[in-house]
């Protein structure tokens, strides 16, 4: 169980929830997720990325997309939430990587924030490309070098965030991305990324979150993988993008 510390709307339909649970917070690696039991009206837990961790507390950044996340958004400070985790593999940063390029599409910012926090405190250089539909976007905590893009041009570059990727590729020792499927499909086609180590975090409908029910299986160039246990982070070039559906 984790106790809600705060739960606030940070942009339209998106909430930031801080929870107290040392067992999860201290153990979590960037890119891991938790399975959240969203009240008695739901049967399956909802998988949510760990957004940030700070001492005994950790944060979830989530969009309301159904009755589970709707229920979660109603939880007040002090409420005990039944959470399993941390789960999954998380991002793998090589010891000698100096420059990390992070690419976030929309709510895909969620798991990348803890990666940025950790990398900066480890003395690495981080550039975060953050693309959203418009200026109704999550205001990032300070300390991260951010390059913004909006589809309507209301902030930063006008267009898709993926259009800004090529100019940063050479600088980056490693690239980490989280966003919607079209963003990944666009990246998978970029010749600039063919020989780069690119890790992506996949979102998939899950059952157990522990690798036992086989609901979230995907086929990769390394064979069948469970997104919950073998992922959610995969090498972009291992994923067979034509077969991914969510």
């Amino acid at each position: 169980m984790a106790s809600v510390v705060s739960n606030k709307q940070v942009m339209t339909g998106t909430f930031l929830m801080w929870l107290e649970c040392a067992g999860i917070s201290l153990e979590a690696r960037p890119g891991q997720f938790v399975m959240v039991h969203c009240g008695e009206e739901t049967v399956l837990r909802r998988p949510l990325s760990i957004h940030q961790a700070d001492g005994g507390k950790f944060a979830l950044l989530y969009a309301i997309i159904g009755k589970g996340t709707q229920w979660l958004s109603q939880c007040s400070p002090g409420v005990e939430v039944d959470i399993l985790g941390p789960l999954g593999n998380g991002f793998m940063v090589y010891p000698d990587s100096r420059n990390l390029l992070l690419i976030a599409g929309g709510i895909g910012i969620a798991p990348l924030m803890s990666l940025a926090d950790r990398a900066i405190s480890d003395g690495r250089n981080v550039i975060l490309l953050y693309g959203t539909a418009n200026k109704d976007r999550y205001h990032l905590p300070s300390g991260v070098t951010e390059v913004a893009a909006t589809e309507d041009g209301s902030i930063g570059y006008k267009g898709m965030i993926t259009e800004l990727v090529p100019e940063h590729v050479e600088w980056a020792d490693q690239i980490f991305a989280c966003g919607p499927l079209p963003m990944y499909r666009a990246m998978a086609k970029m010749s600039e990324l063919k020989n780069k180590p690119v890790q992506v975090s996949l979102e998939m409908r899950m059952g157990c979150g522990m690798g036992t029910c086989y609901a979230c299986t995907i086929r990769t160039r390394q064979g069948l993988k469970q997104v919950c246990k073998d992922g959610p982070v995969f090498d972009m070039n291992d994923v067979i993008w034509e077969e991914i559906k969510t």
């Binding site: 899950m206 522990m210 036992t212």
Partner: protein, 307 residues
């Protein structure tokens, strides 16, 4: 308090469980995944993931969707195959106190017989559960479990191939589940478990397409419990072999309902996805109930609601 239950009284090997709470196939992996999370040895038995002769890749994504009080799935029996199970899983099970039952599935009667032969006398395996919800490819794709004749034919073939205890798991997707139950009992099933999932479907109205990649799937969870309970009530009144109740059991109260209509044991399925220790919670709740009600032997509760 005595919670033990003999699920194969007519079989010389027997299948004695320390208590009546079993994890249902497909919802608890191979059990191994949970052994560091809580004391799985306290469970009555573990039924492992449905196993086929060769490894199966399963169905296209998406494979799971939540519906009102239920879960639709179309995993498609993704599994590692019987050889990997014997090499990698059974040796671990052999060191356990909790009995492990292997759920087997095939597309021909010969598949089932060969699976039973392969698993015969493998250390760590206490019995078989026969999944007859698979399409019978040699008979045009109708499921084995939908007719008494096909269900009995599978049961006979498995019984001929092994002397291990055999549980046959019935599908509710049939016209007369009592007739199927009587046929498999007649064919030598040591016990009967029911129900498997109910066929169901869900549509994404935005895309105007089925949510599941396989178009339809099997419904489980609390939504199906009343249906399952009635079928267990019917079958328990028609056969002499032990009946294992399954379908939407999430709490000890749910489990007791199945026992009171005549089930000798229960399987916890979808609830394992909600909480990995759901089956243990069910067991502890049953123990508490027996203590509170002054029931010394679980057998005293079996079928009490039928009188």
């Amino acid at each position: 308090m005595n919670l033990s239950v003999q699920l194969a009284p007519a079989n010389t090997r027997g299948l004695l469980l320390a208590n009546p709470v079993i994890t249902a196939s497909g919802t608890f992996g191979y059990g191994i995944e949970y052994q560091d999370l809580f004391d799985i040895q306290r469970l009555g038995a573990i039924v492992c993931k449905g196993t086929t002769l060769e490894p199966w890749e399963g169905n296209p994504q998406p494979r799971i969707a939540e519906t009102a009080s239920g879960v639709l799935n179309s995993i498609g029996l993704q599994n590692i195959g019987v050889d990997a199970l014997i090499d990698e899983k059974a040796p671990i099970w052999a060191g356990w106190r909790v009995p492990v039952i292997v759920n087997i599935a095939g597309e021909t009667i010969d598949d089932y017989a060969r699976l039973a032969e392969r698993l015969y006398n493998v250390a760590g395996i206490s019995g078989l559960e026969v999944n007859i919800s698979c399409p019978n490819i040699s008979a045009g794709g109708a499921e084995f479990g939908t007719t008494p004749e096909a269900a009995a034919a599978v049961t006979t073939a498995v019984k001929k191939a092994t002397s291990q205890p055999v549980i046959v798991k019935l599908t509710p997707n049939t016209g007369d589940i009592v007739a199927v139950a009587m046929a498999v009992a007649e064919a030598g099933a040591d016990a009967i478990s029911l129900i498997n999932t109910l066929k169901g479907m869900a549509i994404d109205v935005r895309t105007q397409r089925p949510i599941l990649g396989n178009l339809y799937g099997g419904l489980s969870g609390p939504a199906i419990k009343p249906v399952a309970l009635h079928m267990v009530y019917q079958v328990a009144g028609a056969v002499r072999v032990p009946v294992i109740g399954c379908g939407g059991i999430s709490t000890s109260s749910d489990a007791l309902e199945f026992i009171m209509v005549g089930a000798s044991a229960v399987q916890v399925g979808t609830a394992n996805l909600t909480s990995p220790r759901a089956a243990l919670d069910v067991l502890e709740g049953i123990e508490q109930f027996m203590q509170d009600e002054g029931v010394g032997d679980l057998a005293e509760l079996i079928g009490t609601a039928r009188e």
